[in-house]
């Protein structure tokens, strides 16, 4: 799914972005637990999480995840934003809950990565 489509579907605000709007994101992963991101995710995924903290960006960087969405309109602190800028990770905020964000993206055809 295209990055700009994800942004539109989630009514997301862009906090940092260094990718083209047409960048293709292959998979989705929804969790608040960072080890599970590391265990189940693949690179080139979007991470949907309620953990609006630096740890989510660090973990995404390690796992080659390029797009992170914070749910329920949670605003990250300045260090989190700075880290995502430095690591060239696209950081988005959606007003939706994790459940609704998953539902809307799944409905439009995005899938979680196979094990």
């Amino acid at each position: 799914m295209r990055l700009d489509e994800i942004i539109r579907i989630l009514d997301a605000v862009i906090i940092t972005n260094s990718q083209e709007p047409g960048a293709e994101i292959e998979w989705a992963c929804a969790t608040d637990l960072m080890s599970d991101v590391l265990y189940y995710s693949r690179g080139n995924s979007v991470l949907i999480t309620g953990l609006a903290k630096q740890q989510a960006i660090r973990t995404s960087d390690i796992a080659d995840i390029k797009v992170v969405v914070f749910t329920r309109g949670k605003e990250p602190d300045a260090q989190t934003i700075e880290l995502s800028r430095k690591k060239r990770i696209t950081l988005l905020i959606t007003p939706y809950s994790m459940y609704t964000a998953c539902g809307k993206l799944y409905e439009k055809g995005l899938r979680c990565c196979p094990e």
């Binding site: 989705a28 992963c29 929804a30 969790t31 608040d32 637990l33 599970d36 189940y40 949907i48 309620g50 953990l51 329920r72 809950s97 994790m98 459940y99 609704t100 998953c102 539902g103 809307k104 993206l105 799944y106 409905e107 899938r111 979680c112």
Partner: protein, 116 residues
Amino acid sequence: MKLKDIAEILSLKPLTPAGGLEREVSGGYVGDLLSDVMANAGEGNIWITLQTHVNIVAVAVFKNLSAVVIVNGRMPDADTIDKAVSENIPLLLTGKSAFETAGKLYQILNAKGLQD
């Protein structure tokens, strides 16, 4: 919509007695941080999570949730199952991810006009 019907469509495996599956479901919630679920999950929601810790049952009781669905084939320990049985909280398993489970549940409930 009844939990029983959702469990059947999503092929969820119940770990607790079948009587609990007669509950009505109001919507869904996905989360693995107990404080977040305590603050934001809605009454009657199905809670989709990777957490298997015994504390999930207390959260479900406190928030009056309709069920807890544990994803990715994770198995809760005996403490969690015992507590769920004694507190009458339906506990169900799936081998699918949280994303997929929430995605499908959203479609099912949306068709019934249950937004979240």
